[in-house]
């Protein structure tokens, strides 16, 4: 089985707020951050709501630590990544003395900056486009900038597996630590709501003009959101040596590919089920032991129905119908490359604080999704499964356990 892997630090930033103090009450109440988009002009769009982070507060928090000149040229994406990374390191009380493995996930990198550069070229003139916008438009440059500001050299790896990205990034570092290849590292994901990505998902009919209601009979899609979530993963031995706080334990990771369609999930959820089984197998845990599932739950008709079938297939008809399930995308939106990492942070928060994240916007549960959707936060889960899937049929699953000294 190798080394035990624990989580010793979390940095979570979404449209709901900054860190556990902002997120826990919203998760308990099923409160959504969906609101009209202000970052770009949505005139003529079919849908116009999203989950933007509080950029004013973000700026203020960063300027409390670094002079404004050092942050000049950063887009909101790089700033979110910086905040989440700094918060995770601080939470873990970690001041690395050597380069830190950093497995990060993103689908857009700093594309919001590149998009504005391109818009200036097209709508004004090539000479009007400001090249400085491109400085942090790639994830390599973003990670270098964050590493430089934190004074912590990174050994970077940037994963981009569509909406399974965040889970894939954490899973990769989990396996690396479990195998003994390293003791401690950063993993997570980040992405920003941009005009390009909003129009892209809108063109596919995946965005809702109403509220995001996963597993509801009248669901009609999701809204997109900003987020960055970074976790410090560490071997248990290393965490004990340092006397680090332990937020939870990672037990397993599984992955698979549907090989079915570029943008649609396989309707029977077979690929998802294989990834869940692989995760449980790697954890040495029986399906019946899982207490809570943070579902991918995009609130599209196709995803939720396929995911419900996949969960029942992997966890068994009986336990699959009984286990507590919710999709927190109803609250923070679909945060793409960050989603799996954000949802992992939510799972760890629920395990540590002893509650169940409530399914937001659930009015009329879809009988085609016969799941035990969370209506009340009462509960003290011990094992939480985090399910993610994305374009190209990429599936990723993580299993975490409430930290108990043993």
């Amino acid at each position: 089985m190798g080394q035990r892997v624990v989580v010793t630090g979390l940095g979570t930033l979404t449209a709901l707020g900054f860190g556990p103090a902002d997120h826990e009450p919203a998760l308990r109440a099923g409160r959504t951050a969906q609101a009209p988009i202000t970052r770009f002009d949505t005139s003529g769009f079919r849908t116009s709501s999203g989950g933007q982070c509080d950029e004013v507060r973000l700026e203020r928090e960063l300027q409390g630590r670094w002079p404004a000149a050092k942050l000049r040229g950063f887009g909101v994406d790089t700033k979110m990544l910086l905040w989440a990374t700094a918060a995770a390191l601080e939470d873990a009380r970690l001041t690395p003395s050597r380069p830190l493995p950093a497995v990060m996930g993103t689908t857009l990198e700093g594309f919001w900056q590149a998009e504005q550069w391109y818009e200036e070229r097209v709508k004004e003139a090539p000479s009007r486009a400001r090249p400085g916008r491109l400085r942090h438009s790639t994830s390599g440059a973003q990670l270098s900038a964050v590493a430089g500001l934190l004074g912590v050299p990174f050994e970077p790896m940037v994963v981009s597996n569509a909406c399974a990205t965040g889970v894939s990034a954490i899973g990769r570092l989990f396996r690396r630590i479990r195998s003994g290849a390293c003791d401690v590292g950063l993993a997570g994901g980040y992405d920003t709501l941009t005009r390009f990505i909003h129009l892209g998902f809108d063109s596919l009919g995946a965005l809702t003009p109403k509220s995001c209601a996963p597993f509801d009979r009248n669901r009609s899609g999701f809204f997109l959101g900003d987020a960055a979530a970074v976790l410090v993963l560490e071997s248990l031995d290393s965490a004990r040596r340092r006397g680090a706080p332990i937020r939870g334990e990672l037990l397993g990771y599984g992955e698979s590919a549907d090989s079915f369609h570029a943008t649609h999930p396989e309707p029977e959820g077979r690929g998802m089920a294989r990834a869940i089984r692989s995760c449980l197998e790697s954890a040495g845990v029986a399906p019946s032991e899982v207490d809570y599932v943070n579902a991918h739950g995009t609130a599209t008709p196709a995803n939720d129905a396929a995911e419900a079938k996949g969960l029942l297939a992997a966890l068994g008809e009986e336990h699959g119908r009984r286990v507590a399930v919710s999709s927190t995308k109803a609250l923070v939106g679909h945060t793409l490359g960050a989603a799996g990492a954000v949802e992992q942070c939510f799972c760890l928060l629920a395990l540590e604080k002893g509650f169940l994240p409530v399914q937001g916007n659930l009015a009329d549960p879809d009988p085609a999704c016969p799941l035990n959707l969370v209506r009340s936060p009462e509960g003290a889960p011990r094992l939480a499964l985090n399910n993610a899937s994305g374009f190209g049929g990429a599936n990723g699953v993580l299993l975490a356990r409430r930290w108990e000294e043993r």
């Binding site: 500001l149 050994e155 940037v158 195998s179 698979s256 190209g392």
Partner: protein, 295 residues
């Protein structure tokens, strides 16, 4: 523990000419509406799998490395929405513009159902893909990996980099950046054949050049390497070589490949006979890949 090696190296690049890419696909015209990068990835992968004699199963992982997303479709998508309005956003162009588009086509066309991973964002993305495949083989989660490294830069990319490097120049005063597009594919697995992977790792030291050189030096030192070919960005050759020489005195200047190939560059140098390539990214990342001599 047996050695981990690469086999069945195949590359299709604009330097040699793509020819009829559709005819090189496992099923002709199976990717009629796909971007050129998706087609090149599948063509190179199919030829590599045949060359290595590897059968596909859910124990074979796919690892794609590319610096940029498919920008041709991205630019078309954006331009249409600016010029004709947001309602004309094309779902086809959008789904072809996502970063894991090549991995998607590999899975759909060739039938991969196991690990499917894409690495992006810097010149060392291909080395990250090799490192990930090696990591999964060592962990026993896959029996073999197919690595595909891509570079399909757009004319807009060339202008963007030129603008970034020469911010005071405008329009025709910007130096040209010739592009070399293409895909390389190879199989990574345990066994006696192929070229053993001695080292595949990346590092990143923030923005300070001296830090970057020290990080590259650490990689070199750990590997016991004494000589390497450089892989650097065209606009920064001289400056990058200076930095690399701090890490490795016996660094060979990069021979001209005919164009900027970004993440594909180190793999074309390996194909052209280099054993070790030290990569210095323009964004502060660095990486090293070293293969044993052909056996």
């Amino acid at each position: 523990m047996s050695r981990i090696a690469i086999e069945g190296f195949r590359a299709v690049t604009s330097a040699e000419g793509f020819g009829d890419l559709d005819a090189r696909l496992p099923a002709k015209n199976s990717l009629r509406r796909a971007s050129e990068s998706g087609k090149a990835a599948v063509a190179a992968a199919g030829e590599s799998l045949r060359g290595a004699g590897l059968a596909i199963s859910d124990r074979v992982g796919v690892y794609v490395g590319e610096q940029q997303v498919p920008l041709d479709y991205t630019a078309q998508f954006l331009e249409a929405t600016y010029r004709a309005g947001p309602r004309l956003a094309s779902p086809l162009l959008f789904s072809e513009s996502v970063a894991n588009n090549a991995a998607t086509h590999l899975s759909l066309t060739l039938g991969f159902t196991g690990a499917l991973q894409t690495f992006i964002g810097s010149r060392v993305a291909g080395i990250q893909a090799v490192a990930a495949a090696r990591e999964d083989l060592e962990a026993g989660t896959v029996d073999a990996g197919l690595v595909v490294v891509l570079s399909f830069a757009h004319a807009m990319t060339a202008q963007a980099y030129a603008s970034l490097y020469f911010p005071r120049r405008r329009g025709s005063a910007l130096p040209p950046l010739p592009l070399l597009n293409g895909a390389a594919a190879f199989v990574v697995r345990r066994g006696v054949g192929g070229r053993e992977i001695l080292h595949a790792a990346t590092c990143c030291a923030g923005l300070e050049r001296s830090q970057q050189a020290r990080a590259a030096g650490r990689l070199v030192g750990e590997s016991g390497i004494t000589a390497a070919t450089a892989s650097t960005f065209r606009f920064a050759h001289e400056r990058s070589l200076g930095i690399l020489r701090e890490a490795l005195p016996k660094i060979e200047p990069p021979p001209d490949l005919g164009g900027e190939a970004f993440a594909l560059d180190p793999f074309l140098r390996l194909r052209n006979g280099a054993d070790t390539v030290l990569v210095l990214g323009e964004d502060g990342t660095a990486g090293l890949i070293a293969l044993a001599r052909n056996c």
